[in-house]
């Protein structure tokens, strides 16, 4: 790698560490939902996409089937495909490098890369790799910490873990609510999932709200 831009390296490190810390919440959520230590760590190593990981443990923890968990997590992972398309012309990677680059294509690596555009393309590439690999390392380390901590705690409710998981979801969705359409969709999705919960299998009330997203997004804002 050519000389590393100090500004880019600093941004990459601070994002990697801060985001990695959320891994504690995920590790704890995995255990609280009934996943084993190995399964929780496997999700961070292999899935490596925070919202998708929280979703799959959330759906199965609420009693949903593997299929509805996978489907919900996968819908949340579609945006990584869009990031990949944005990053591919910048990175120009093939073979095993493309495999690694794809695995670390997430919100943060794409975000930091795009944030370096004023410093030029080499800085953008550095931002992508440093952040992608940095988050990967910290996210997995802190997943183990959170999972071991939760195992030591016992009853999740006694430690507030049952509220920490929805609070984490709320923290993920809150910054995305930037206009009235998005806020209306959030309220509609909550209402639909409430309305369906008593009548359909667990997991279905969550994934069915994807249809609301399609309906709300079908027309451009008038």
């Amino acid at each position: 790698m050519s000389t590393v831009n100090r500004t880019t390296a600093a941004a990459s490190f601070s994002v990697s560490f801060t985001v990695g810390l959320y891994g504690i919440a995920f590790g704890a959520a995995g255990i609280a939902a009934g996943f084993s230590l190995i399964q929780t760590c496997a999700l961070s190593l292999l899935t490596f996409s925070g919202a998708s990981q929280f979703a799959v443990v959330g759906v199965l923890g609420a009693g949903g089937s593997a299929i509805s968990g996978i489907a919900t997590a996968s819908l949340l992972g579609i945006r990584n495909a869009l990031y990949g398309m944005r990053m591919a012309p910048l990175l120009k990677i093939r073979g095993w490098k493309r495999l690694v680059g794809a695995q670390v294509t997430i919100d943060e690596s794409t975000g930091v890369a795009l944030g370096q555009s004023e410093l030029g393309e080499p800085a953008m590439r550095q931002g992508f790799w440093l952040t992608g690999i940095g988050v990967y390392i910290f996210w997995n380390l802190f997943t183990i910490v959170g999972a071991l901590g939760a195992q030591a705690m016992g009853d999740p409710a006694a430690w507030g873990l049952d509220a920490a998981v929805p609070a984490a979801f709320l923290g993920l969705v809150w910054p995305r609510l930037t206009n009235n359409r998005e806020r209306a969709l959030a309220v509609a999705a909550m209402a639909l999932s409430f309305g369906l919960t008593p009548f359909v299998a667990a997991g279905i009330p969550i994934i069915s709200t994807a249809l609301l997203a399609v309906a709300f997004g079908w027309k451009a804002r008038s």
Partner: protein, 103 residues
């Protein structure tokens, strides 16, 4: 194989497939404005539904318990622009205290 392992491996396989697909297709195929718009809204719908179900759901019932107190604290923390760890820990602490003293 257990449901949990199927979920872990299935989610991981599709997650990687989506990422790799993105790196392998020309940008024009998914840059349709409607696709982009819906893609921004899908996480909002799913995450909001997860907030609702995880706060009030108990199998197929809706219940009010200590989690509501935790979530109220989370909402207040977010309105005060608190950082993510403060939101999560504050919510957990409020829920745990309620569980012990009122549960």
């Amino acid at each position: 194989m257990s449901q949990l392992w199927i979920a872990v491996l299935g989610t991981s396989l599709i997650a990687f497939g989506l990422k790799y697909f993105g790196h392998s297709v020309p940008e024009k195929y998914l840059s349709n404005p409607r696709v982009l718009r819906i893609n921004t809204l899908i996480p909002i719908a799913l995450l909001s539904a997860l907030v609702a179900v995880q706060t009030f759901g108990d199998k197929s019932k809706l219940v009010i318990d200590q989690r509501v107190v935790g979530m109220s604290v989370a909402v207040i923390a977010l309105m005060l622009k608190a950082p993510f760890p403060v939101v999560v820990i504050g919510s957990a602490a409020a829920s745990a205290l309620t569980f012990h003293y009122l549960g």
